[in-house]
């Protein structure tokens, strides 16, 4: 496999990075990087880490990082996690910034401890901390419950003070969304499966409306809704499918959500290099974070009508002749 860390890869311009990923030869990994400057979204870091954990350390060939921003990858724990030796020296007095380094989560109890420990690292306001905790919990539990990923979930986050944005990335190398969704629903492509996973009330654990006693099929819809009302990016990459919720330009006074993710302003594709699992990225602009309570009102209305519409569509019609 080959993965290249470019000059810049954030959710708005992540597509070329994803399209350059080479999944062939899964027993080895070659990591290359831009020589001048590397600035990437936590989703990219989580993906590299998740990929690296699928091969033996001795089979990872990592180009010597020359970019001036190379210390960032040490701080985020990439080389340490992958067991790669690095000669990059960090200045002791350099500010640590507000970030969550790459973290591997393999069990529910680990996740609970992680959530309580991560909030102080980012110095967030209570409302913002709540939103972050919600996102991390739902995304990581999805991995633990559905992905069948031997290495669990790899996640990290970074706060960008200039833009006041919190960026979160999580990746796994499990079975992928299509494999999970296809247990109960028909999905012709990875992108179609991602679309179903983002639809409220659709879960791979059952085709029954309302889900099972343990799964409702609402977690990703909630997260897409958080990004949508905050007018932020949200991306899901699984198999060959990429769904990217695009930033909305104008603020609305009322919150309006779409149950069908393809009705949201989005981009993506169904023919990307096959990612062996699922990777998710989200941006949260903190100074425009909608009050969570208002968001819940909109979710309640959208969710309820989506369920009713699906039930109505399944109703048998009388035949008249």
């Amino acid at each position: 496999m080959k993965i290249h860390l470019p000059n810049s890869a954030f959710l708005g311009n992540i597509d070329p990075f994803l399209r350059e990923f080479d999944p062939s030869n899964p027993d080895s990994l070659e990591i290359t990087a831009n020589d001048q400057w590397i600035s990437v979204h936590p989703m990219v870091l989580s993906m590299v880490a998740a990929l690296g954990l699928t091969v033996k350390s001795e089979n990872i060939r990592c180009q010597k990082f020359e970019a001036r921003s190379r210390h960032y990858f040490i701080r985020m724990g990439l080389f340490k996690l992958l067991g790669i030796a690095s000669d990059i020296v960090i200045n002791e007095h350099e500010p640590a910034g507000r970030f969550i380094p790459l973290t591997q989560i393999r069990a529910g109890s680990e996740l609970t401890s992680f959530i309580s420990e991560m909030i102080p690292l980012l110095h967030l306001q209570p409302e913002q901390a709540k939103t972050l905790g919600y996102i991390v919990s739902e995304l990581a539990r999805n991995v633990l419950e559905h992905a069948e990923a031997k290495n669990g979930a790899l996640l990290c986050a970074q706060y960008y003070p200039k833009s006041n944005v919190l960026r979160i990335g999580i990746a796994d190398t499990g079975v992928g969304i299509r494999s999970t969704i296809a247990r109960s629903h028909r999905a012709e492509t990875d992108l179609a499966a991602i679309g179903l996973a983002l639809t409220p009330g659709i879960t791979g654990t059952t085709s029954r409306e309302g889900g099972t006693e343990q799964n409702a099929g609402a977690g990703l819809f909630f997260i897409k809704s958080i990004a949508s009302v905050n007018r932020d990016f949200f991306a899901v990459y699984s198999g060959q499918g990429l769904y990217k919720l695009l930033k909305k330009t104008a603020a609305r006074k009322s919150i309006r959500l779409n149950a069908d993710p393809f009705e949201d302003r989005h981009s993506g594709g169904f023919d990307l290099p096959r990612w062996p699992g699922t990777a998710v990225g989200i941006d949260i602009t903190l100074d425009q974070t909608e009050e969570f309570s208002r968001l819940l009102d909109a979710i309640r209305a959208t969710y309820s009508s989506a369920v009713k519409e699906r039930r109505a569509a399944r109703r048998k019609k009388p035949r008249f002749s």
Partner: protein, 97 residues
Amino acid sequence: MKSIRIKDHAGAFAENKDVAKALRVEELMPSLEKNEDIVLDFEGVEAATQSFIHALISDALRKRGGDALDRIGFKSCNDEVRKIISIVADYMQDSIF
């Protein structure tokens, strides 16, 4: 009447679905089977995920319909927890009937 303090089991941020499952299987459902009233006390719970609430109460709603809500009381819920419980109660009843 049985009362369960959610914070004692799930903490101030109720997100651990394994905990929700244990409460459902060991406390909530047996009480409902015996036609006992039960109170889920959310005092001190600052936030809960939809997944947690679903894992806690959806089975009761599926098996007993809206009548389950005659037996289950929700105490000391803040505005957001109250709304998440309402979302789960709504979509479960919409799904069944």
